[in-house]
């Protein structure tokens, strides 16, 4: 049996299962579960004895296989009479295997396309114009990915004290949103009432964050709030000229 060398090429439990199905020339719609389970488990044993890292997913599939096997062994339950055959316990697994197989093939055909920097190459040198004109017009579009932004933030935070490494909580971000919105509107309109700020979309979350934002802005002494008597409209003014 020359399969030792192939061990590390399995991409996961589904991949191993597909390999066994292919190796035994089995019809995927009619998997002999007992045989496949036995082979699957002996592969896991082998991987373990070779000290290969066994991802938890391999064990999950092992238990799924054993579960299906036991279901197939059970006599059909009463009432689930002969006329109506219960669903094949293998159906879900087959579905999953077919789906995975399809994507595996898709991956292969992607890999076979003429790939940039492997099969085709674009112009290697930067053009003269690129080097001379930095071309950073003010209103130019900006091409950055949100992933780069988080990565940048993480990089900076990594160099700081541990206490800086706080989880970014989304509540603070919602608050920042409201603060931005309030300051934007104040600079446009000069003054604004609490209910103007809520607008038509006055859900609970929005009311709370708008209120918290105003408190925060007052604490920063960026806005002043006035109320025209009890139950009157709360009116906000910028505390200083922007």
């Amino acid at each position: 049996m020359g399969y030792e060398i192939k061990l590390d090429i399995f991409e996961g439990p589904l991949d191993l299962l597909l390999y066994l199905i292919r190796k035994n020339e089995i019809d995927i719609y009619n998997i002999p579960i007992a045989l496949i389970t036995e082979q699957y488990l002996s592969y896991l044993d082998m991987m373990r004895s070779l000290n290969l890292d066994l991802a938890g997913e391999y064990l999950v599939l092992a238990s799924t296989l054993i579960h299906i096997k036991s279901k197939l062994l059970l006599p059909p339950a009463e009432g689930e009479g002969e006329e109506e055959e219960g669903e094949d316990p293998r159906a879900e697994l087959v579905q999953q295997l077919l789906e995975y197989q399809a994507f595996k093939e898709a991956a292969l055909s992607l890999g076979e396309r003429p790939l940039l920097e492997r099969d085709v190459f674009t112009r290697g040198a930067a053009s003269e114009e690129e080097q001379t004109t930095a071309g950073e017009a003010d209103d130019a579009l900006i091409e950055v990915d949100i992933f780069e932004l988080v990565t940048a933030f993480r990089r900076i935070i990594a160099g700081l004290d541990r206490k800086e490494d706080l989880e970014i909580d989304t509540e603070k971000m919602s608050l920042a949103d409201r603060i931005n919105e309030i300051m934007e509107r104040l600079s446009e309109e000069g003054q604004i009432t609490f209910s103007d700020l809520l607008g038509d979309r006055a859900d609970r979350r929005r009311i709370i964050y708008t209120f918290l934002a105003i408190l925060e802005l007052m604490k920063l002494r960026m806005v002043r709030a006035y109320q025209s008597g009890p139950f009157g409209a709360i009116r906000l003014f910028p505390a200083v000229e922007g």
């Binding site: 991409e11 996961g12 077919l98 995975y100 399809a102 920097e117 992933f147």
Partner: protein, 176 residues
């Protein structure tokens, strides 16, 4: 040669990413889109007929000069670098994202039967996959999709050019 073709050729050559017809229209300003498309088609034919080392191709929604595929051994030899290969997990993850986008990581994990975190991060770093947004369900999981660079690297005009697989179609029919 007509001056307009020369200009278009210079623009294509100078652009660092596939050049869209729209950008050419903006830059030339006095030429209709239809005319530019037909000039581009003419250029593609001209380079193909000539059989030189360069050809013009439509990729990622634009046009770009590229080296002829069959000459890649020579170019690789010159560049003396190993081709930037994607690992099998990366390629599988990319295939799932490409065909099922927009989707969340849990869906990728489910289809591949293993955790896709590592592969996904590599693809994000290579800019083949990007964060599209968040799903409006509890936990607001991040939604992923492919990038324009994905189209460039895999020589695709657009996503509809991805080959449809029979198995995939069968599955979708079964699911419905």
């Amino acid at each position: 040669m007509e001056e307009k073709i020369a200009i278009i050729e210079a623009l294509l050559f100078a652009s660092e990413s596939p050049l869209t017809v729209e950008r050419i229209v903006e830059t030339l300003s006095d030429t209709e889109k239809k005319e530019i498309v037909s000039l581009l088609e003419g250029l593609i034919r001209e380079y193909d007929t000539r059989g030189g080392g360069i050809c013009l191709r439509e990729v990622a929604g634009g046009f770009q000069f590229r080296t002829r595929t069959d000459l890649s051994p020579w170019v690789r030899k010159l560049k003396a670098g190993r081709p930037a290969l994607l690992s099998t997990p990366a390629l599988e993850t990319l295939a799932v994202v490409a065909y099922r986008q927009p989707l969340v990581k849990a869906e990728i994990d489910r289809i591949r039967g293993v955790d896709a975190s590592g592969a996904l991060k590599g693809l994000l770093e290579k800019k083949l996959v990007r964060i599209v947004g968040r799903k409006d369900v509890p936990g607001k999981p991040i939604i992923y999709g492919t990038t324009r660079k994905f189209l460039e690297v895999f020589n695709l005009k657009d996503l509809s050019e991805l080959p449809t697989l029979r198995e995939l179609k069968d599955l979708q029919e079964q699911q419905e």
